[in-house]
Amino acid sequence: MACHDYKDLMMGYLDSELDAEQKRRFEEHLSGCPECAGELEEFKRLKAITDEVTLVEPEDRIWQDYWGSIYNRIERGAGWIVFSIAAVLLAIYCGFRAIEQIIRDPHLELTLKIGLMALLVSLAILFVSVLRERLYFWKKDRYKDVRR
């Protein structure tokens, strides 16, 4: 085996992840290879430096509020979904009623009727287009591919 093949064992040795046989094999290689011994010393030095650095823990109250904050966001998300469905249903209902009234109203001029109808139709097209785009991106959501 060349020195390069011992790099996995070197990492395992450094992190105390080797079993007795692997450890013995690596130490045997080390005793006859000053290059690997030198490299191991460098890694030990690096490990000593990084071990001196720790991540600062946030205050206790952050952890106490952590679940509450998640729960509120989940609840609000559900609220927004229900609100959006209700708003869409109401918009569709009002749209149909408006179209019905415009068509039936004998006092409105034809040009105005056509204009108002065109406005409502264009709003419907825009809504469907936005909805379709959202659905397209939702289908391509990268998190849907997360292995389960």
Partner: protein, 195 residues
């Protein structure tokens, strides 16, 4: 008495049926890990807190699709990692956009969001170590964070990253080599005076 693994499996089963209380158990168990991993990946506490919470929300919404034999944390880790990577990508785009990337690509690509306020240690060491970690590739930074700051075993890292142990050791080797270069702790350099 149930073991930790069995307890977790029961909690996941209840979560699949929509129990928020069961999900709270999982959140309380992993919130610190989630925060610290996110912190290691994105470099500042505000973003790490927000991303770790967002990952739990996405996990809650999708937990009913998880295979019953899957452990929670390796699955959750993938969600968290994807969120952090997308966040970093957006941040780098913003930075590159706000600087003149053509005239100075090195400056545009540099990630200056690894603020040393979130790490403890001797000032001169922690500043340079944290900034050096911030300069590693995402996949190298990931293994350094999981090994050095989360103290995870190679098996646990391999499970979280969906790779084999050989890949973990190989990434650790190159990540540490790169860190040595960045910190100047290689041969003949006693920059930090650590024996």
């Amino acid at each position: 008495m149930l073991s930790v693994c069995q307890e977790e499996a029961v909690a996941m089963q209840r979560c699949r049926r929509g129990s928020a209380e069961a999900f709270e158990v999982l959140v309380n168990r992993y919130m610190k890990d989630a925060y610290f991993i996110a912190l290691g990946l994105v470099g500042n506490s505000e973003d790490a807190m927000d991303l770790s919470q967002e990952a739990f929300i996405r996990a809650y919404r999708n937990i009913k699709h998880v295979r019953p034999d899957r452990k929670f944390f390796p699955w959750f880790y993938q969600i968290l990692k994807n969120l952090c990577v997308s966040h970093l990508r957006k941040r780098r785009h913003r930075q590159a956009g706000s600087l003149d990337a053509e005239d100075c690509p090195e400056v545009a690509a540099r990630d200056d969001c690894f603020c040393p306020d979130v790490v403890a240690g001797k000032k001169e060491i922690k500043d340079s170590v944290w900034r050096a970690i911030g300069k590693l590739d995402d996949k190298h930074r990931e293994v350094i964070i999981l090994r050095h700051f989360q103290n995870m075993s190679y098996d646990q890292i391999a499970e979280a990253l969906h790779c084999n142990k050989g890949t973990v050791t190989s990434r650790l080797y190159y990540a540490r080599k790169r860190l040595e270069e960045l910190l100047g702790t290689g041969k003949g350099d006693s920059h930090y005076g650590v024996s």
